[in-house]
Subunit: 196 residues, 2 copies
DNA sequence: ACCATTCATTATCTTTTGTTAATCTCTCTT
DNA sequence: AAGAGAGATTAACAAAAGATAATGAATGGT
């Protein structure tokens, strides 16, 4: 039984896949649905799983020394989600993935994707493009920590991600900005009062 | 006249280059030497130049709204140096590169490198490796801003980069850590006094 | 409709950082 | 050797952030 949603997503991923690769990817690619508040990945996970989010919103968090959850990033529709710990560092994940909304993902095996790319040199451009875009975002984020105050970071964040703020509790946004939820609340008040 | 240093570096870069590619790369690759305090790149630069640092130390900085220089990173021996603005964002550089020590670099043209890689599929693994390592570092740096206090960031920085601290003025390290030089000085004092 | 839970806000206090300027040290230059 | 300049430290004050706890508001489940 063919899942047309799945085919559609895979088609978007690469226009140059040959038939046998599509078959391999289709076999390894699984559509999964999660209700809100469900884990996609827990600490210690080692499965090289790459998610493509079709719908919904997922937050990634670590547990710090004090035992608190610290959200390091969030991902939503049409974004790729994977644990850097597993994919880049080749270590068990210290990250958890937990849905904030009901979420549909396409789950793929990283090693299978890599094999398919090495069989299809035309896909290298895609890989380079994706990697570079992830790197771009990372560099922008580093610079925002160096160049801007927490208040400026917040303003730029909501400007760059309109709508998202309304889908995610402030305390997670605070973590992402590197400040405490209490501090973010004060910043919001400061902005609201100086605007009038 | 063949520059053996140049050949050595290029040899290290890829074990799978064919002769004509080596020739192309040799032509585009230039050894350059800079005294301390010299610019490798200034704001507005658009040349897609990639440096491999053979010896020395370079800092990258931006000018913020107040007109201050803000150092965003430093690179030294055996590291790759390039302007993300130019290479990733395809925009004129807002970054300056300025040497902190007398520095020898191998300068290469980014587009030439890309062409050579597409002619040598075996080099794709190299490119992927390099890109992934840059991404790794970026992610670690982001996490250090989110998870650690300025004091912890400083301690981790000097631990991860022993020796470098003695080659670079503290004020640049402070920028890299996202704090002011005055604050770093206080942190250093705090560490020194609580240790005894 | 109610309770419980989860967030956001507010309050209070402590700690840290930013800002500006002065002082001190060191190095390099002439 | 003297002076200039750069960088680090210190001081003094203001502003912001962290920590902890209490209060409000909203939400979801039964």
């Amino acid at each position: 039984m063919i899942d047309f949603e799945k085919v559609k997503v895979i088609y978007k991923l690469g226009r140059k896949l040959n038939l046998s690769d599509v078959q391999v990817l289709l076999q390894s690619a699984i559509m999964k649905s999660f209700p809100s508040g469900e884990f996609l990945l827990k600490e210690g996970g080692i499965k090289k799983e790459v998610f493509f989010i079709r719908k919904g919103l997922v937050r990634a968090f670590k547990i710090n020394d004090k035992g608190d959850e610290i959200t390091t990033f969030i991902k939503w529709e049409n974004q790729i989600l994977a644990s850097p710990d597993i994919i880049l560092f080749n270590e068990p994940s210290q990250l958890y993935f937990k849905t904030i909304e009901p979420t549909d993902v396409l789950s793929m095996d990283y090693d299978v994707i890599q094999t398919i790319i090495s069989n299809n040199p035309k896909l290298e451009a895609n890989r380079k493009f994706i990697l570079q875009n992830i790197l771009k975002e990372a560099i922008l984020r580093i610079n925002s920590f160096i160049l801007y105050s927490p208040e400026e970071r917040y303003l730029k964040y909501i400007e760059a991600n309109p709508g998202i703020v309304h889908r995610v509790p402030d305390k997670y946004i605070a973590n992402i900005l590197g400040i405490t939820p209490v501090s973010l609340s004060r910043i919001r008040k400061r902005i609201a009062t100086t605007r009038k």
